[in-house]
């Protein structure tokens, strides 16, 4: 790829996720086939060998994330992709990656659920599962693309966040985002950020694997690099060994939370559209954000002061941006393909400042611009 001039390509969302991952330096993929995420795996099977990367089709999704964690500990950027039921299976290992602080990227192309649900239909039902699906209390980073270009950039950013904060990052795509093909202009190579995990600089005998030196994120050594240390899903002390001592448990849990919460402004990622004078603001993500943008443009043509706040980071929830919109407008409309998972967060942040209107659809079809516009008109009256 020529890195010096902008490149135009015609890609599907899932294809852009793969290209984004490869551009970020992902060189290990383990997965298990499931609709509508399968194209990611099929492309990875094709692309990895020539790039000197590794690809393996595992026996299930639990095994897939296990292998991804193993590869990351051995020093290779790794990811897996799945859809609803497979994402449920991954939850235990996701928790392991959080506690052991193993960078990795997990893509969940959401489909209708629960259970086998609607395998080929779009939905946004896994938002709170992505946040709270594992047992125990820990922070997580969840990103959601809504265009094919987003798929590329969000995947790049997911790897960057995972390396920077030593944490699994979840990408919530949906069936429509992942299967839509569109022309996009890729940023030039020199415009792309690329973040690598911090490596220890001390000699191995001085290395204390979970000591942070004021950074909140410990330096990470790879297996085989001469820094022999212990990795576990148990709560551990700074040397990596299991501990029950309340002071050590507290310090660990607190740091795990703070390494994300203290970097909230870095992780918060939203795109505003027509917000300067907006009285009605739509908060949307994923494929619904596309319908919402269309509806906002139609509303503007009709003379309504409408705007859109598109969320790319879902968790930690971008409360500052939502709060700012809530203060400035008269009503917030949250359309979602679920019973109201992000609208709960919006209401929590809004704290009664303005009206919060919800538009929920869960019949396996997209929310159309017309439906959003209709809701906006109703809210006006």
């Amino acid at each position: 790829m020529n890195r010096h001039k902008p490149q135009r390509v015609f890609w599907q969302g899932n294809e852009a996720i793969v290209e984004g991952a490869l551009a970020a330096g992902c060189r290990f993929y383990a997965g298990y086939p499931i609709t509508p995420a399968t194209e990611i795996m099929e492309m990875m099977a094709q692309k990895m060998p020539a790039l000197d990367g590794a690809f393996i089709q595992m026996e299930d999704e639990i095994a897939s994330l296990g292998a991804v964690i193993g590869a990351s500990l051995a020093g290779v950027k790794a990811m897996t992709a799945t859809s609803g039921p497979g994402f449920s299976l991954m939850q235990e290992n996701l928790g392991f990656a959080c506690v052991a602080e193993v960078p990795c990227v997990v893509v969940n192309v959401m489909r209708g659920g629960p259970s086998t649900g609607l395998p080929t239909s779009p939905a946004q039902g896994d938002v709170l599962q992505a946040r709270w699906g594992t047992h125990g209390d820990h922070p997580i980073i969840v990103l959601a693309p809504s265009t094919t270009l987003d798929c590329y950039l969000v995947t790049l950013q997911a790897f960057n966040f995972s390396e920077k904060y030593r944490t699994p990052v979840i990408i919530l795509s949906d069936e429509v985002v992942s299967h839509t093909r569109e022309v996009l202009t890729l940023p030039r190579g020199d415009e792309l950020p690329m973040i690598e995990r911090i490596r220890p600089t001390v000699p191995p005998e001085w290395f204390v694997p979970f000591e942070t030196q004021g950074r909140l994120v410990p330096a990470m050594s790879s297996f085989g690099d001469g820094y022999r240390y212990h990795v576990t899903g148990l709560i551990h002390d700074v040397r990596g060994f299991p501990t029950n001592r309340p002071d050590e448990v507290f310090a660990f849990q607190k740091r795990l939370q703070e390494k994300i919460s203290e970097h909230y402004t870095d992780i918060q990622w939203v795109e505003p559209f027509y917000l300067e004078d907006a009285e009605q603001v739509i908060i949307a993500y994923g494929s619904v954000a596309r319908s919402a943008l269309h509806a906002v443009r139609q509303a503007r043509e009709m003379g309504l002061k409408a705007g859109l706040l598109k969320l790319l980071t879902l968790f930690p929830f971008p409360r500052a941006a939502v709060e700012k919109a809530a203060i400035a407008c008269q009503s917030l409309l949250v359309p979602e393909m679920n019973w109201g998972q992000i609208s709960r967060e919006v209401k929590r942040v809004n704290r009664g400042r303005c009206r919060v209107v919800t538009l929920n659809k869960f019949d396996g079809t997209l929310i159309t611009p017309k439906e959003i516009l209709k809701k906006m008109m109703q809210d006006q009256n």
């Binding site: 790829m1 020529n2 490149q7 135009r8 390509v9 015609f10 890609w11 294809e15 290990f28 383990a30 060998p49 020539a50 000197d52 590794a54 393996i56 595992m58 026996e59 299930d60 639990i62 095994a63 897939s64 296990g66 292998a67 991804v68 964690i69 193993g70 590869a71 990351s72 500990l73 051995a74 020093g75 290779v76 790794a78 235990e92 290992n93 392991f96 022309v183 790879s222 297996f223 085989g224 690099d225 001469g226 022999r228 240390y229 212990h230 990795v231 576990t232 899903g233 148990l234 040397r239 060994f241 299991p242």
Partner: protein, 290 residues
């Protein structure tokens, strides 16, 4: 004694807050000793070894030794090990599991790792019981035996772990016991030496739960049972079904050559790179450009 002290200093972690979690009389320490002697004898460096363990009593083994160590989720040790080995094939990846860990929750991973023939060394410590959770029956608890989750006695037949590994395609399969400690470290050496998926089943004693529940006496008496029940595999072939009753074979049960996953994948990589360079010269760049 001098040699043992040397091994302890060389291979156990100085900064670990001992004591260990194992009960008096447990066989896990004997297995750990045999593993360390095998590694020492084969002269692997500590940096090239990765010890991956599952959950349970055996899972804690990874805490104590000074290698790259990974204590995974219950039953999934082989999957983590697969990722490590693929990412860095030069590392020597050893996986320690218990019978409940490897065969109940991890049963699916176990058969697929054997079938795939990825170059790992898997040790299953078979004490016929779930130890750390308090003595529930496992897929390796023999029919008729007692456990805390059997009302009267175990009504399920047990897996024959080594035979299962042979059937699933493992290229090296052996069985040893905690009693036959010398044989054990020689079997571990062979397993470590083998290119491909190698599986070693190690019969050990859990006097705290399995022994007590089944009135098998002290740890010493349980080890005497191992001595009296184990038959060298060469002799085993000549025994009639009646003579085999209540006994088991020890030694190397399978040692064959078969294509390994990693070697096969290297071939795929080489060919993919050839195709990619051909395509690059023909098209100038990849095909999805417009």
């Amino acid at each position: 004694m001098k040699d043992i002290t040397k091994l302890i200093h060389q291979y156990l972690r100085h900064d670990k807050k001992f004591p260990h979690v194992w009960c008096p009389g447990c066989g896990n320490g004997i297995v750990l000793g045999a593993l360390i002697r095998a590694i020492d004898h084969l002269e692997y460096s500590k940096d090239e070894i990765v010890l991956v363990s599952g959950i349970g009593c055996s899972g804690r083994m990874s805490v104590y030794v000074d290698f790259n160590t990974l204590h995974t989720t219950h039953g999934r040790a082989l999957t983590f090990a697969t990722g490590i080995k693929m990412a860095k094939p030069d590392l020597k990846v050893i996986v320690i599991m218990g019978d409940g860990d490897a065969l109940a929750i991890g049963g699916n991973h176990f058969i697929h790792a054997a079938r795939r023939n990825i170059n790992l060394t898997a040790l299953i410590i078979n004490n016929s019981i779930f130890g750390m959770t308090g003595g529930q029956h496992s897929p390796a608890t023999p029919y008729g035996k007692m456990a805390t989750t059997t009302a009267l006695y175990n009504i399920e037949p047990a897996f024959n772990i080594a035979e299962l590994a042979v059937t699933a395609g493992a290229v090296f399969v052996a069985r040893g016991t905690a009693y036959h400690a010398d044989l054990l470290h020689k079997l571990i050496e062979k397993a470590l030496h083998k290119n491909g998926f190698s599986l070693l089943e190690i019969i050990t004693q859990c006097p705290t739960f399995y022994g007590r529940k089944n009135r098998m006496g002290t740890a010493v008496e349980m080890m005497e049972w191992q001595r009296d029940s184990a038959v060298p595999v060469e002799k085993w072939e000549g025994l009639s079904p009646e003579e085999r009753e209540g006994k088991f074979s020890i030694g190397v049960l399978m040692d064959k050559e078969a294509p390994g996953f990693l070697e096969e994948y290297e071939k795929v990589k080489a060919q993919a790179k050839r195709i990619a360079s051909l395509n690059a010269t023909e098209k100038g760049d990849h095909g999805s450009q417009i």
